[in-house]
Amino acid sequence: MTQPEKQLSEKESLDLIALMINKAKDTRRDTGIAAIMWGAVIAICSLVRLSEIHFGYKLPFDIYLLTFAAVIPQIYFSVKEKKKRKAKAYGDVFFDNMWMAFGICIFLMIFITGSMYSGLKPVMDEYQQLTGHAAPFNFYEYNSSFFLLLYGLPTFVTGVSMKFKPMLWGGLLCWVCCIITLYTTVKIDLILTAVSSIFAWFIPGLIMEKDYRKAKMGLAAANV
């Protein structure tokens, strides 16, 4: 005897659909190119600044301008990927908005820390004039901490949402490094920033790119 089929209520049906979507949601479709690029750019900027401080030279331009230049290929990659996508999955909307908000916050962070620095500089200069030596407090030493705090947020959320462990651990590493930089010198801060960007973006980006290529090849083989 067959058991009578249980009729689902509207709420139960909706919950069931939601669960099904949840099961299928973990598909990663990102090419990883943007993550590779940003991981490399931040690591290069940090290491070049480190070498400037360590070897006592100065480039004719601020190396961090490279981050502004990197926005151009970022736009190119985004447009290209958008064209490739046949339909925008809901996850894409979430990640696009989160990384856009992150980008805006990076600009805000530059502005806020810049205004803090310019506000404190006259006080530091006066201290140096009066005492003959530099002030024990240097705001510049906290710069990396603020940026690492921000790097960690979208990286961690992306990692946990995609169930992509390299990014999840990368995000956590950014926050751990952020706390360590509070107690270290500027040189160590720059090394930790480079390490964080490599583990949070560059390496996960390489894994994503490899997975994407594999999936693409699999799809091509299936179509043969």
Partner: protein, 195 residues
């Protein structure tokens, strides 16, 4: 059995249903926005009154009210855990986002403890308030939250031009536009929809 494919209209409808469900869930959970919003609003304005008007030395003690928020969140969270229900992808995204936000506030707190809470602290908090609400609003497509997030960012910039005392008022204004007002709007909207 042949797998049934959804038409674009059906897909769209499904997504709309998920968004509506999350909006409803967020409205149910708007108590968090309201409790934290009002507590923070009270702390910001209270600190301003104590420091700027009464010149009270330990003005920062007003921030102890966040303990109430933490106790409430733990209690409410445990209560909700008992009522198990299916979650949508959007529910999970919101949950992960705010977990990340909580961790960021904690790490920011550690930075500021080292740097000194008497320095410029509010622009950083306001910027993070904006990030959380902007992304949440974008996910559930609720414009007041998105606008609240953008206004919070503008207030974060504006707050760098004023003294520490007035930054507290900027903080209160940011909380009002990014947490409190959108939470009430979300509640009233869903109340109307349910009726």
């Amino acid at each position: 059995m042949k797998e049934e494919n959804f038409s674009p209209e059906q897909n769209l409808q499904l997504i709309q249903t998920m968004i509506s469900k999350t909006k409803q869930d967020m409205s149910d959970n708007s108590i968090y926005f309201l409790v934290w919003g009002w507590l923070t609003f009270f702390a910001c304005t209270g600190q301003f009154v104590l420091k700027h008007i009464y010149n009270y030395e330990k003005h920062y003690l007003v921030w102890l009210v966040v303990i109430v928020g933490i106790i409430f969140s733990i209690y409410q969270g445990r209560k909700e855990e008992r009522i198990k229900r299916a979650t949508t992808y959007i529910d999970d995204s919101i949950k992960y986002l705010w977990s990340g936000m909580a961790a960021s506030f904690f790490v920011l707190g550690m930075i500021l403890t080292r740097l000194g809470w008497g320095t410029v602290v509010f622009p950083f908090f306001i910027m993070l308030y904006g990030l959380g609400t902007f992304v949440s609003g974008s996910i559930i497509r609720f414009r007041p939250l998105v606008i609240g997030g953008i206004v919070a960012w503008v207030l974060a910039i504006g707050s760098t031009f004023v003294s520490y005392d007035y930054q507290m008022l900027f903080g209160a204004a940011a909380i009002l536009v990014s947490y409190i007002i959108p939470a009430y709007l979300l509640r009233s909207r869903n109340k109307t929809a349910n009726n």
